[in-house]
């Protein structure tokens, strides 16, 4: 343990804490610290986020980093040795420049639009109604309907509900999930 109460915990400990790998004492001490330290809470959140991407990273193809670095060096050397051409303005370039600008603007707008919205979805299916934000399951309300009794769904713009005869209480019960 590289910190004491009142001081910030070390990076190793924060990472271990985020992964649930820290021992009970260390965990207790970090939790106490996190209550009053927004900076460390942020660090824990970042570690957690990072770890959640591990599966995606694991799908990357194998890369020979040394070979890649060599090739980059060789290209840089070649470019440095090559004589620079004299740049002359030609009218035909105006159209090309406009085209490049248009493509770049299109790429930027598309990228912005794709990055901004998060999918909020409400699902009604056989066993549950569920609220999801992005790929994360936020809340699932399960129905335990009596056998031989149907479940009725109701869908509106902001909510999905399931109505059923509860197996435990024998009462009509309606589960709703609402979009934020």
């Amino acid at each position: 343990m590289s910190w004491v109460l009142g001081r910030h915990p070390g990076e190793h400990d924060v990472a271990l804490f985020a992964g649930g790998e820290l021992g009970p004492l260390g965990r207790w001490r970090i939790e106490g610290h996190l209550e009053g330290c927004a900076r460390c809470r942020q660090a824990v959140a970042e570690f957690f986020e990072l770890r959640s991407r591990v599966i995606d990273l694991g799908e990357l193809p194998a890369i020979d980093w040394i070979d890649l670095a060599d090739r980059i060096h060789r290209r840089a050397e070649t470019a440095r040795e090559r004589p620079r051409p004299v740049v002359r303005w030609r009218p035909a370039w105006a159209g090309a420049a406009a085209l490049v600008l248009l493509v770049a603007a299109g790429w930027y707008v598309n990228r912005t639009l794709q990055a901004t919205p998060v999918v909020v979805s409400l699902d009604g299916s056989a066993g549950a109604v569920e609220l999801r934000v992005g790929n994360g399951q936020i809340l699932t309300l399960l129905h335990d309907a009596q056998k031989e009794t149907p479940v009725s769904w109701r869908v509106s713009a902001g909510a999905v509900s399931a109505r059923y005869l509860d197996a435990g209480t024998g009462q009509i019960t309606v589960n709703h999930v609402y979009a934020p």
Binding site: G19, E21, R51, D166
Partner: protein, 383 residues
Amino acid sequence: MFTRRSWIGLWLGAAAALAQPAEPLDPSLAIRFQLPPDAPVAVVGKDLGDSRIQARGGALVLDLRATVTLRNNSTHNIRGLTLVVLAQEMAPGGKGSVAAPSLNVAPGGSFPVRVNLRLLRPLPVPVGPLVEVGLDGVLFADFGFFGPNRLESRRTLTAWEMEARRDRQHLKAVLEADGPEALRQQLLASLKRQSDRPRLDVQVSRGARALSAAVNALIGHNVAFAFLKIPDSPIEPLSGGAVVNGAEASSPRIEVANRSHRPIRYFEVGWVVRDSAGREFLAGTLPAAAGLDLRPGRIASTLQDRSYKFIRPQEAPPSIAGLTGFVSQVEFADGGLWIPSRKALEHHSSLFRLLPVSPEEQRLAELYRTQGLQALIKELGKF
């Protein structure tokens, strides 16, 4: 290049992915029931049954199977109740609720409500309970209401109660006019209607899917609503449509006129989807936008920035070929509510076949199925 911190994170992620489920934690610490001190109901029992809470890898999985017993501390019969379910770290505004309609709980009486939910949240465990259950509203037999009503429980519970009275009245009328055997036939028809009702799973989305609505506008096509005329409806649908692409309908919009003499603050239009094979399914309802103030004789439109994707369990996705709308609920500015009459619904036989029975009709049909005709007649006599 990865930093030292990144490598630690990656190592931790790999360790978490390989981790085995941990020892179960105490689920009773994960849920808190919190009712207002002046609430007409009080929690008199809690049973968490086989609820489980476990740390798996880097996340906490809560499987809650809770039965809460509530006592009616008021002086009126309770007809319905809504509990709001809030999970920590939930997206702002996102929530769930569990409602119990078709109750008839006398003062001093108790009744159970089940809250079954699953929640997955990343570690570390937050301070305090993961789930809070509170009260959104209680409806009494005299249509009195108690509660913060943040989920519009007053309107929902009132509509259910009006449907309950409508359908009990219908069954009583059948009994009085044509006798017990006619009542039995009604209940058998109701049970058949419930079991035969075609069903679609649906996913409602906004955000990135709403963005795809723009794409749908290019590759999809506009389908106009056909409207069913419901007698005595305070509003008249004038026009409407949605952009349809295969099994997905985006941005449905409807224009209506207030044909009543009272200002309207809310309405719902039900919609039915017809696929290319001619089969029809109830798709759901399109509610009016919040803050509506529709004066008599005026026109308003509702546009939903949503996409509705329909899925037929174990079958190919339906290809939407037609849309039909009908007015299913209207709330006046003075709080009065309108729902279609039983006669009006039965008049449109194809619609009647698609609509779910009311919660009360479902309860009464189940009573008949499990306890017989005499138990049903006795139950009808209580109201």
